[in-house]
Point group: D2
Chain length 414, copies 4
């Protein structure tokens, strides 16, 4: 048991706030960075890394921008790469290959690895990249620096290291307040609202975590267990509803998915979340037969406006036709579906199952989609096949009902 | 609490034996590998990765050798590297830099990352590299492949991800049996012997773990709490000794350090182990004032034989002189100390504190060092300074007593 | 590790809501109770116990009252007691003593022990006693029944079984919402208010738990770490205050103690809470030198009114005199201090250290004590001595400053 | 999470060895006991209790015997009981009933509750009772004292407080060494033998624990998962056997049940162990259809010898007849089955399913039962019905095969 208690305490000891603050080192940041890169002792490196991180935390946005430029300057040396590559070609060996690898990786990549020795570092480096993405947009050098972050994070946040955990009303409050803060689709208004989404027997929530950031969810999904497929988010989140006994549910509805870490942009760990949760739920609750989303259609109104199509949210039949038509036919320049949520679920192997006018009466729902929502269906037996058809031919898989609605719209137009 | 129970269960679910075996895929391994590299769906990739790993596990050494050759062939394309590098120089941007990074990394590196999606994969990849190190020695291509493993593991086993845990008599038996198996310095004869090293109040043991391999220690150190610095390993490990009350100990003796994973060769996480353990012990037991090893001198006898020096283990005074002289003066070609254990501790900032003839009466101790042992002292206040002096000038820091012994030997020789 | 995970899950499995509901047994409650008392198979008893508890949960207050009367009727048989006692006196043995014990214990006591086999039973029995205390007041039979509850709970909630745990912002939300609900001294207004009391580095909270009720705190204390002894609760709980670094605190202020379980009335586990928390804090934070409360004086205003003394909350000097005089001289019929909070802390060995007019500007504070508050000081070195003096002679230990204030009031009166 | 880590550490802090030893109090034991009984402060009581326990630990058997006599003298006062009972009858109230309860309970019972405040006390009190049972046999006073222990332990070790945990090869070594020590049926020879009983996928072990004694199993059962019902213990425990895949097992064999705590004699918590384990296994492994023991027949040889029946272990057919006849017909004076293991399982609702000559070739097996063993079958659907038939009419439920064997023996005799 003590083994485990210790794992726990060690993880907590890695938190930033557990470590006492250092007295400020008088040297300039670039000098500290240089020393850190050259340090041969791990202990020395750890102290220098803490100085660098502490210095960074105290910076203004302008200072951070300058610091990033300094980091970006620790770039690959193209001549050295060519020389090492030539040497490796001339005499391939472990040694010459290692020399090539060393030359092909800029010093700043090693620096980021060394910074990770600081308590709580992984989380702080993720926040550092969030700063970089915000400040460095459009700066070629900083975009290249960002590629090093992304490459490192792709390795550190490898799917094999992530842990799927349920989030419940018994989860620690400091994690739950992050769920409130990060919910991006249907805002959580209060702790009471949160309790309504977590505590009833017919509600579930799951998040991916990384062991080095045990307090920070990476992405989470909220699930409602229902009888039948619901067609309105207000019904699902109603305050006074009577909860369902979990054993009598036949459907799991994924009604909200939120990415939590802007600093992990481009590191995809979300695309297996729904499938893993669906498969875990299926084995825990054998009564569940249907796995479906209740999703927004964020691009619908803008697309209709661009097409000059008039919108009447109260004409449900026509709204359903318009929504179906948009989801099945509106494309981006690269041939992918125009709607970002559609791209995500179709890319996962889901199909467009049903559309619902008047399903989201919130201000946001009215503005984006005139209240329309959509169910994407995850048929676990067919999800790979649908994924392949979508990936290869770009085919948007849809139910015949949705296809008929879309065809109805085309007929009406013609 | 359920958050935690879940973390636990999820970690265990990642074990290899938790997953049902797959039915054998009829395709040849190279084809599976190719599909895995090309898979766009994470779920598809995960299934393919399990097939590849399962196929590997069933292979003979000769088949593994062939498989490694196949992997090695997924090498960098030198022309593509040059082209991407040129394009980046011509027009530096995030996009052109990413293209260069992609070209400079061989496909086999991405493959290893994808294999890590399999349950229990990290541990299995570490064992795979152990196979590679054994089978691929002297093969240039396989040594280059090993560099990719090493580079990946350096990132995955970054010091910031490791967890220091005490190992005690309350640790799980399946971890303890690995301690028995991995002890490399003073073999553990039985579970009773293990209990004598873990259960008494004056004994401690600590290991580094990685969260993705919770059952596998990476490196561990055994510690005895004593009054005064001991000069004999038999005294320390005596069966019938009366244990000391931990509060009355003034010295922590690191008497055995063992690396556990041959597949992590070259990934240094050991050099901070002693210092972290010493600093943890110092804060838990304020009575501890001295942190010292009781270490073997593995190269002594061979060096003396090479020098044609006669050895009499029972002449303690002369043995001490010989041992001191060896530790202070015997060097490798690169100027580093010839003794590997001395290199390790001096490189950590320790000093040679005392030598003891007749300190190790085991067969192994007689053969390697004619029974002599050495204390390396970790003076936490000076460890960085000593580290620097050793690193910069190669100076072997030693106590005046040891210096006098070495000088005595020189006088005797002259 | 699995040992521990399992302890966890087993504890949770004992929860009432984890067990499926039973189909209603058609028999009347008294018949079920009779069968339960006679059941020889533990498995049969467990099922009957679940029926009884489920039946109880569905009852109205009037039905519960009747059920309690039924229980009360399972009383000791006085003649059987006398006979068994006589037999034991005539021939003392283990067997005759056991027969006496059996006769002297009413069947309803065994019934309560059998009911404890139901999942979540301990918590439910505590709630059952809360019902009994509410409904049975003044009913001699039900008061006797309550004595059996009390006697059983005294054994079950023996201090040796209680566990002291910190409550923090990282505690599970379902426990924290109980802290909000149970806070009885200074109401917690919202989750933000709770966070302000738990999350800052200079705040602590501790609760006693029983392993069979892991979700239910029994009693908790809120602590502020300060420099110097505070004289106002508003200052302590101010929203915008800058938290203190815990290492620079010299004083721990116990500013709120709340009992959580009305069903455990008369089971004293609180009187060691403050001393244990003080001693734990003292060893964790060696800078802490002073352990003190900031307590209400709930009986002050009523006492002054009874005495016909006029009250001017704004005349601080006179209010301090009145408060000191009340605390030092006002007694109940049995010679104990009239103020209940004073009784509690003086009985624990604390002393009256200082009084503060205008220290509690809340409506409640104004009504009870015209805003005055008091610090009781826990001098860990003298707490036993003070406890004895108070217990034996009834002496109210107080600082010379408080004594002088009280004397000043007497002089003014004279 | 910290809530949990703390529960853990608090539990460990209650261990005896975590508390520093007290300086010896010069007073005599009876004086300390008297003070402890009179202490009004919980803190004072806790210190006194530690003195008493420490004093006890240092005693010889003769001194303990005297100490028990001293304890026994703190007996009920018969006159006081009669007076309080009369007063309660005259005027029934909570107060008069409480006075009766106080009089009917001897002071030594309260003393035992107060001793439980010492760290690790529960475990130490259980060991104290084991001493009492050993030393006090046949002493009427000490047997009466033991009844107070038994009554207290019946309350403390109420089934509702016990926790069922799996024991596996991942359990802590200090718990596993107790499994080795406590195994009472088929001795565990070594750690390798233990691993063979815990680690293979077709083996299980479960134990009951009490939260106040987390390191001490109370009772445990070892289970083998098999295909079909085994008829030999050697086959089951064979060193070289190939383990079965757990999913293909259809039978769970309870082949060893051991009580661990002599100090808990007479506190029955074992009779639901098998049924709970069977029901847990049934839900975890739906393939399991049969739950059966492989049990010794400890009284067979002695019974046969008493009857003057010759025994030939190698005549399997006759041995099976003798064993069946013994199990079905041999009775104690009270009409219960003569065989203690038979009493246990039949009392739990099991039936005699099959007998096996030559099933236990160990020395112990030969001596007790000439090598014969028996399967008791737990048919979960009928276990209550069989329990009732056995309890009411004393009917030994048996398979028709076993009945035929018994009848065959009767015919042979006749």
């Amino acid at each position: 048991m003590s083994l485990f208690a210790d794992l726990l305490s060690t993880i907590f000891d890695r938190r930033a706030d557990a470590a006492p603050r250092l007295r400020r080192d008088p040297r300039a940041l670039p000098e500290l960075v240089k020393e850190l890169l050259e340090a041969r002792s791990e202990t020395v490196a750890a102290v220098l890394a803490r100085h660098v991180m502490q210095r960074y935390d105290g910076m203004t946005a302008a200072e951070k921008f300058e610091a990033f430029r300094g980091l970006a300057a620790l770039n690959v040396d193209a001549e050295a790469v060519r020389a090492a590559l030539g040497a490796y070609e001339a005499e391939p060996s472990g040694r010459s290959y290692r020399a090539f690898m060393a030359a092909a990786e800029p010093p700043r990549a090693e620096l980021l690895r060394r910074l990770n020795m600081v308590p709580g570092a992984t989380e702080r480096l993720v926040r550092m990249r969030a700063d970089l993405l915000r400040l460095g947009r459009g700066e070629p050098e900083l975009e290249a620096l960002d590629e090093d972050f992304r490459h490192l994070f792709k390795s550190w946040f490898n799917r094999g290291f992530l842990v799927l955990r349920p989030i419940s009303w018994e989860s620690p409050a400091h994690v739950l307040e992050k769920i409130i803060a990060y919910e991006a689709v249907h805002a959580i208004q209060s702790w009471d609202d949160l309790r309504r989404r977590l505590a009833p027997p017919d509600r579930r929530c799951f998040a991916f975590f990384h062991p080095a950031m045990p307090d920070e969810p990476l992405i989470f999904v909220e699930v409602a267990l229902t009888r039948g497929i619901p067609g309105s988010i207000q019904g699902l989140l109603e305050e006074q509803r009577a909860p369902l006994d979990e054993a009598s549910a036949d459907t799991a509805v994924f009604y909200s998915i939120s990415n939590c870490q802007p600093g992990l942009a481009g590191i995809s760990f979300g695309n297996s979340l729904i499938k893993q949760v669906a498969s875990d739920l299926a084995s825990a609750l054998p009564g569940l037969k249907t796995f479906v989303t209740l999703s927004p259609i964020p691009g619908l109104v803008r697309w209709l406006e661009e097409q000059g199509v008039s919108i009447d949210p109260d004409d449900a039949k026509r709204m359903n036709q318009l929504a179906a038509h948009y989801l099945l036919t509106a494309k981006r320049g690269d041939g992918q579906p125009r709607d970002p949520v559609a791209r995500f679920h179709l890319g996962n192997g889901a199909m467009v199952h049903a559309v619902h006018a008047g399903a989201d009466t919130s201000e946001n729902g009215q503005r984006q989609s005139a209240g329309a929502m959509v169910n994407y269906l995850y048929d676990l037996a067919k999800v790979e096949q649908y994924h392949d058809r979508f990936a290869i031919s770009g085919e948007v898989i849809a139910s015949s009902a949705v296809k008929a609605l879309s065809a109805g719209r085309e007929k009406a137009q013609a």
